[in-house]
Symmetry: C2
Subunit: 411 residues, 2 copies
């Protein structure tokens, strides 16, 4: 029998009534002939409550204990869903991460899945049981301790389970009905996509679209697991298919740009009058890397007198203060005239695999933004996307401009 993984997030299992609704979605797929594994998050709000208690108990908490506490929320929903399924006449049992086991690294709080033993799940399928799996967690084999995968980790659990059991598809049920060309709250004309490639979805998730966790998309891409994003609030007997994330050769749409993403979690730092000498980039960016600060866009411009240069780059806004401190500590090693920073900036990105085969896609955007009087502070491009850093006040205008420019507006 074909296998299917269905993942339900916190709002989809927020209370017992919604858990019953989830059971109805599962019943539909069981009736359609699938062997089904379900991955559930904690009831919405529960994980935040647990995290708050941990931080109250000790601001500098032990990560392993954090995991022991925070992983408990998913156990509750997994058990309740198994009960609701059995009530609906569907054989089911719940699985805690360590019972399968889902083996992870020991990076508590943000562990990586290292392997999933599918044998026990296989045996369950052979008994005709639906597997209800607590998401977001695993076990580190050597220590025997419970680990968590980081916030949103249940998406990653679901894709990893799908790869491990050879599922035909991984359906991520959420409170939206698919992946949109951009945030519909910013652009009312945003369109739900029927299909999007793994590569595009990965860029969109990395560049600010919050619908899927980046790691889950990476994993789906590596293991070629067709993954959908769809709504758990559709009627179970008439649920729409949502957006399918799949290989490029399975996509139909031939648009050059498929989506516009934006991220406000950016901060810009500019070092003016840097003495230009070999190794200067390493002197600046080495210490930032040592401090685990992820530098994104980098622009180097030669200044008027040719002997100095201006260096502009972005860091996550959460790391902005720390980056300034690191650079101040390096002021002996790096000679520069002045340091400037800005946190009221946004990175707007256009993504599409069609960029590979079309020239001048980005240039068109720079012109359109200039015509609206939007100043571009920095640019980065890759094979299938380009990003511009602009003042955050222009976010909506820029996103709408690009959305129209590339023909993404709803008919």
């Amino acid at each position: 029998m074909p296998r299917l993984v269905m993942k339900f997030g916190g709002t989809s299992v927020a209370n017992v009534e919604r858990i019953r609704n989830v059971a109805a979605h599962v019943a539909r797929e069981v009736a359609a002939g699938y062997e089904v594994a379900i991955v559930v998050s904690a009831m919405s709000g529960k994980t935040n409550e647990l995290v708050a208690w941990v931080k109250d108990a000790a601001p500098l908490y032990d990560e392993a204990e954090y995991d022991a506490v925070v992983a408990s929320g998913e156990l509750v929903t997994a058990g309740l869903l198994a009960i609701a399924l059995r009530k609906a006449g569907i054989a089911a049992r719940s699985w805690q991460g360590w019972q399968i086991p889902i083996l992870t690294s020991d990076a508590h709080g943000s562990a990586r899945i290292e392997g999933i033993d599918g044998a026990r799940l296989d045996a369950g399928f052979a008994r005709g049981e639906v597997a209800v799996i607590a998401g977001f967690q695993g076990i580190h084999e050597a220590t025997g301790r419970v680990t968590t995968l980081g916030r949103g980790g249940s998406d990653t659990s679901a894709v990893a389970i799908a790869a491990a059991i050879g599922a035909e598809r991984c359906d991520i049920y959420t409170d939206v009905d698919g992946v949109y060309t951009t945030d519909p709250r910013v652009v009312p004309k945003a369109r739900r996509m029927e299909r999007v490639t793994f590569e595009e979805m990965l860029e969109m998730a990395s560049l600010g679209a919050k619908v899927l966790q980046v790691r889950s998309v990476e994993l789906a891409m590596v293991h070629r697991v067709p993954t959908t994003v769809r709504s758990s609030f559709d009627p179970p007997d008439n649920a729409r298919p949502g957006t399918l994330i799949c290989d490029e050769d399975e996509t139909m749409e031939q648009q050059i740009i498929t989506g516009i993403a934006f991220s406000k979690d950016e901060a810009q730092i500019t070092l003016r009058g840097v003495k230009d000498s070999p190794g200067i980039a390493a002197a600046i960016f080495g210490p930032l890397a040592d401090a685990n600060i992820n530098v994104d866009m980098i622009i180097q411009t030669v200044s008027g007198d040719q002997s100095t240069t201006d260096m502009t780059f972005t860091v996550p806004s959460a790391d902005y203060d720390r980056a300034r401190t690191v650079l101040d500590a390096q002021s002996g090693a790096i000679e520069f005239a002045q340091i400037e920073g800005a946190t009221d900036v946004v990175k707007v990105s256009a993504i599409g695999v069609g960029m590979r085969s079309h020239a001048g896609v980005a240039a068109k955007a720079f012109r359109a933004l200039a015509e609206k009087g939007i100043n571009i502070r920095a640019i980065t491009t890759s094979e299938i996307k380009f990003s511009v850093l602009i003042d955050s006040a222009y976010t909506e205008l820029a996103v709408r401009t690009l959305h129209s420019l590339y023909g993404l507006d709803q008919a």
Copy 2:
């Protein structure tokens, strides 16, 4: 180093502030030189919340899934207490039941502890760590599933852990400061006992005193684990020792009766005019036993005409309706004139190891109750206790009468 088990119930860990208070109690014992294992319950109210969700999901829920859900509450408090202890500078780690492991039967919802492997806890003590153990739960080895020990099971966890690690003592911290001669809400003159024997405590717990779970007292008696009941609300730096439950030869007090217990969870059934023939008792009580109904007091009285008999017995009030149904179904097999029942009855018991060596202890009580006009419906006695069944309206009067009669009133 000597070892100590400390158990904290739901009200003692109801929030993070109280968990910090628990950490202070633990710090005192660590400073006193103990290797400490702590057993915790879920935060008060949490288990009830989980049980309510389970019942909402399906009134006839699967017991294994019930356990998977309900055992999660203790994981939260164990992790939070480990964090609070580390914050207080005390090395600590949390342990889930399956991690130790605490092996149990597969009677989900009311599993029995079959064995505890102390090796991992020993290794933790050798590393200088306090062990913070989630109470109320274990794992069934063959299925690998989480089990729970039934309500109040954390007391049993604590005593079993104490036996397994060879602890000098098991301290049960709760919201009262010890075991009283009777319920102080009924008898304001009730006295806190300094010591009570295992046997007496077992009878008191069985007969209605709610301070400790019956199974935990049984286990303490079998393994001779000195156990105290004491208050977690005492100041950590000035905590009173509470009541010590210990062997008879370690008790000081030489009272004949040490406590008065009462239970309102009783119902009386009387079969009048039962045709007296060999095997009649088996015909009545066999079907009740088959229906898992626990019959307690039994009285058979010969009626006037000598050929029939009246049969009176008690069952738990929760089983009263079911018992009536079972007996009605047997009306072909048992000939009787009439069936009567009463649920407004109470069983009042007096307990004391001194009864063994003193005659007429119970007779004195029957006289005293008769003088107050209290009608005794049934009597049972054992080596160290006697119980009378009376109208529940007389509960307080009877308890106070016996409490004074045996010299238990506070000076």
